[in-house]
């Protein structure tokens, strides 16, 4: 049997808005993926550790506090420091488009803004998975 795609949905930082994170978690699960949701207030260290422990193929970060430019790159740096290069990192939330390029340059493969259909995220994951 084919192994299911494993996704860690994570909320870095301090904001408590996780409607989007929970909706995307459920949509990915309904699409047949294995989904772990971390809950609120996770440090980049906790997120990376959970991703490794859970053998996640994808880390989906959600943030609405404005701290994305600080916290997202911390996640990709820590992954690199642990020698993990085959985990797809994506992000979503209230993130100004002006920041997309910066985040992409730091290893966040895609950023999904408000109003993105869950299908777009699902398709992106299926197309861009680093592990086969």
């Amino acid at each position: 049997m084919e192994r299911k795609i494993r996704v860690l949905v994570a909320k870095p930082g301090l904001d408590g808005h996780d409607r989007g994170a929970k909706v995307i978690a459920r949509a990915l699960r309904d699409d047949g993926m294995e989904v772990i949701y971390t809950g609120l207030r996770q440090t980049p260290e906790q997120i990376v550790q959970a991703a490794i422990q859970e053998d996640a193929d994808v880390i989906a970060l959600s943030i609405l506090s404005g701290a994305h430019n600080h916290l997202f790159p911390r996640v990709t740096e820590l992954l690199a420091a642990k020698g993990v290069s085959d985990v797809l990192v994506i992000g979503g939330g209230v993130i100004p488009e002006d920041d997309y390029e910066f985040l992409k340059s730091r290893g966040v493969a895609a950023v999904f803004g408000p109003g993105t259909p869950t299908k777009s995220t699902i398709d992106f994951i299926r197309t861009n998975l680093k592990r086969s």
């Binding site: 301090l14 904001d15 408590g16 929970k22 506090s65 404005g66 209230v94 100004p96 109003g115 299908k119």
Partner: protein, 555 residues
Amino acid sequence: MSDSDNLKKALGPWKSGVEKSISKFPERRSRFVTGSGSPVERLYTPVDLEGRDYLTDIGLPGEYPYTRGVQNTMYRGRLWTMRQYAGFSNAEESNKRYKFLLEQGTTGLSIAFDLPTQIGYDSDHPLAAGEVGKVGVAIDSLADMEVLFDGIPLDKVSTSMTINAPAAVLLAMYIAVAEKQGVGADKLNGTIQNDILKEYVARGTYIFPPAPSMRLITNIFEYCSKSVPNWNTISISGYHIREAGSTASQEVAFTLADGIAYVAAAVKAGLDVDEFGPRLSFFFNAHNDLFEEVAKFRAARRIWAGIMRDRFGAKNPKSWMLRFHTQTGGSTLTAQQPDNNVVRVAIQALSAVLGGTQSLHTNSRDEALALPTEASVRIALRTQQIIAYESGAAETVDPLAGSYYVESLTNRIEQEAQAYLKRVDELGGAVKAIEQGYVQQEIQDSAYRYQMEVEKGERIVVGLNKFQISEPKPEGLLRVDPAVGERQVAKIRELRAQRDGARVKAALATLESAAKGDANLMPPILEAVRAYATLGEVCDVLRGVFGEYRPSVMF
């Protein structure tokens, strides 16, 4: 033959006529629903209101059950308070924004704190990195609070503070700033949100577990009833429950269920319900469906009046009145074609006014993208002023009362909310229902259903899943200066070096022993903030005694 019989007789042939015409010209959809997904009939008539008694169920404004409003003249006497939630960066910047808002005709302040402040961390805490000054103003100590209200006379404004887990500390700082301005606590007007239960459910800025959190809240009720008599000690909030995806009926039900838990806790602690009951206030969302929202506000007032009078035996009519603040629905704003949000906000704000709100925040068009600019905030405020002075909606009391549709919706929301309240009671009350995840699950199911309806195109969101255009990248968004964090860290280190360390230490020790016992914690917290103990230090003492809340995660 009565009017009702005549009507029923007339409806028969009318319905046959309708059947005939829709067989030729079908209606736009096979099923019509409200914003919350409840069915909407083609026509509402007096038949839908049969069995209801005007005086018992609707009544007169300013009288039980307050369906038509809590004051007898409503906005003919005084308009609602136009209160724009604001705050970002540091105390200096926010102070400037408040003065701008006051000059523009806003009539009450509403303070947004940054997340470290809301969770009781100082700006130099490791978890605060990247968050300082982002979604609100950073307040570390009384020194910041003094700057925040510099030149704003606290006996002249009413101030609402969106602060929950550390509400006692920020209230203490406000009282201490007033002391320095020579304003007694008995002259202060305002509100602290102080609603921890919805933090566990929907907003996320909790610190302590439920039991000590409820104690802090009860301590505030008791302290304020004696020392800060005009203060609204809690703003029991449905806003965030709705933002998390609930329906209108769930918003009413889970908010009032939380309200019941607070009242029960205070009564259990020995307070008289009529001592604190009049100072309870509420906070609701104004969502897209104009009529459903108006009905929601009216239903909430009617249910709460019954709860306070009949369940808790309150005697003072002021305890029966559900007074509330409203904010337009942030989650309804689209990042696509953001100027359309001005129109959404206008309709939502109108629902709040037609629903009899006591104060109102209108969202800015750019809030799905970033914090609002001054220009956007001005349009949002002008929207309220246009409703107040041009629309005619404020000239008579409860203008939609008697609409067969609105009265039917009011009855339906009341029934649905009562059913949820019964379920929460069966689970052992709001605290238990939250601990078991029942409330969260109900809300998440509604949120997911809504998202799927949008994605299948069953629900149209203009500019999002219909009438899209290709747009240039939005320009001119507000950005918080990234150096704010560093400046705030430098400031707090300077404060720690300069203050009377022995006095701080003694005050924190007194607080600790009070927390271990069962004394009211407001006086020792007030003494600690007067000594310039930081917010983080005060919260750390309480964390040490109370522990921290660990949520169960589900989706």
